[in-house]
Amino acid sequence: MSLASSLPAASPRPDFRDIVRLEGVQKWFGAVHALRNINMAVGRNEIVGLIGDNGAGKSTLIKTLTGVYKPTSGRIFVRDREIDLSDYSVGTAHELSIETVYQDKSLGEKQPLWRNFFVGRQIVNRFGFINVKKEKQIAGEILLNTIGFRGAGISVDSTVNVLSGGERQGIAIGRAMHFNSDLIILDEPTAALGVKEVRKVLDFVRRIKSAGHAAIYIEHNLAHVHEVADRLVVLDKGEIVSEILPKDMTVAELTEYLIDMQHKR
């Protein structure tokens, strides 16, 4: 696959230990306590698997981390520097090289691929007009080289709604790679994918690691996440309840452990 060859090498910046660290983060939605005192860190070249039941707060945690939601209280550090939460947004997260690949919310359905690659980070002149020619040219290169869509009847002018689920993940992942993200967050990227396409996504997660980047990988399928993560963080009812190293447990043991935990709580 052409994924590895084109994945940019991690920038040598030895001046930090954790790419991201949360301290005492709380999030309330009205009366709902969605995140309870979250303390968590992701090392600069670590794949952290985030697991937990539906409604455990995985998505809320990710959205708080990436500036979609503002935490009610707590502190967020990126590369060991504290973030000013009052103006932390998706845009600032992008500038800090944090990129999210959402299950189904990463791409504008009716928009052509070239717009999807650059939306939010358009190449514009000083009046805000988009350099369409340049965006299309770069989008074409990403399609061909980074993602490896060759002769599949897909061009930069294709709209997202003609793509398959796997192709969509490819587009979102290719976008993250192009913008050279240090931390790539994957929100159930293998949901609704065929076996072959799941393998491609897992390969990509491994390449994030080998290229020196970090990732947070949210997954329902324990086998998938067990296979690629360095460390598993278990979330339940908005709280981190345990951290597990995959080498200490098999998938079967892990499954049993999680079921036991559900019963105890």
């Binding site: 928009q111 939010g120 805000g128 988009i130």
Partner: protein
Amino acid sequence: MTPRPRVRSLFQIEGLPIIVVFALILGLFMYTAPEVFLAPNIYMTFLSTAPPLILLATGLTFVIAAGEIDLSFPAVIAFSGFVFAILFKDYNLGWIAVVATLASGALVGIVNGYLIASIGIPSFIATLGTQFFWSGIATVLSGGKSYALRGAEDTSVWWWIVGRFGDPNSYAWQDQLSIQALWTLLIAVFLWFILNRHRFGEHVLFIGDSNDVSRVVGINVVAEKIKLYTLMGVLASVAAMMLTLENKNFFGNQGQGYLLTAIAAVLIGGTSIFGGRATIVGTFFGCCIIWMLEAGLVATGLTGAWVRTVQGLIFLVSIIFYLFVEEPQRRAEFFARFGRRTDSGGRDPVGKVPARPARESLGPDPKS
């Protein structure tokens, strides 16, 4: 799978289906009323009276592209028209009146944007409310009176906004070429570039596609929606000025006829009722069709009562056309929603409450 090409390549030319329809209707009227449609005067009249509709519909194209709606622009035509009339006539403020009118349109737009984007009221409800509010204000302030702007044609404001390129007192058609047609063309072309080539236009399309996706990719949805409604308000105030100056008269309900015609023009043009896809070229020809029907049906010999009927029919036919051709996946969703509603509201006998028919019987939920 959606069929990729061939059929779709026909639609590569922006607004092509609607241009064809326009040409057919124009041809039909040339045949049924040749003395009107083969003479230049009707087209000169079009150039002087269609601009407000085109400006409103162009602004509305952005609003609908963002998956929202604005029902308050007829009130802007009343309110901003009043602001303009009183400042221009009673206070003789000339160009200051023009600036104040634009500001009044922007004010209405910002209020709309704030209600919809920041507070989160659905746009249909919010602008229904502001429509009553601002037209009420206009009626209260004007005391229900109309303002005749006699002598307006001697001012530079009149000449620059709705003047004629030729001798204004001549009835020869070439002297009737209006300035507002040029302004409208320039604004429409400029807004085409904003929609298709500017960051703001791209954000509007993504917001219409999905608010969630837009937030995730880093679009400030609240700020962009406020900008969007401000743009709509300003365009409506420009339309109000052109209308007031062209008629040399302000009256409180001068915006009433535009609500459905402007929305119809946008949707006939091919902008998606679900947002995310929009065409300014289509909107322009949609306006041409709506305007021409009015003139053409009357010239053909039908009474004015037929005009709304035929406009409504063409409106519905075009929406069904776009649903079937452009958005097959949305069509299923649309009919599923429709089907579910008739089911719960219609067939359930009154009194028999709990055992609602299982949802599976209605086919798969398109959203799951």
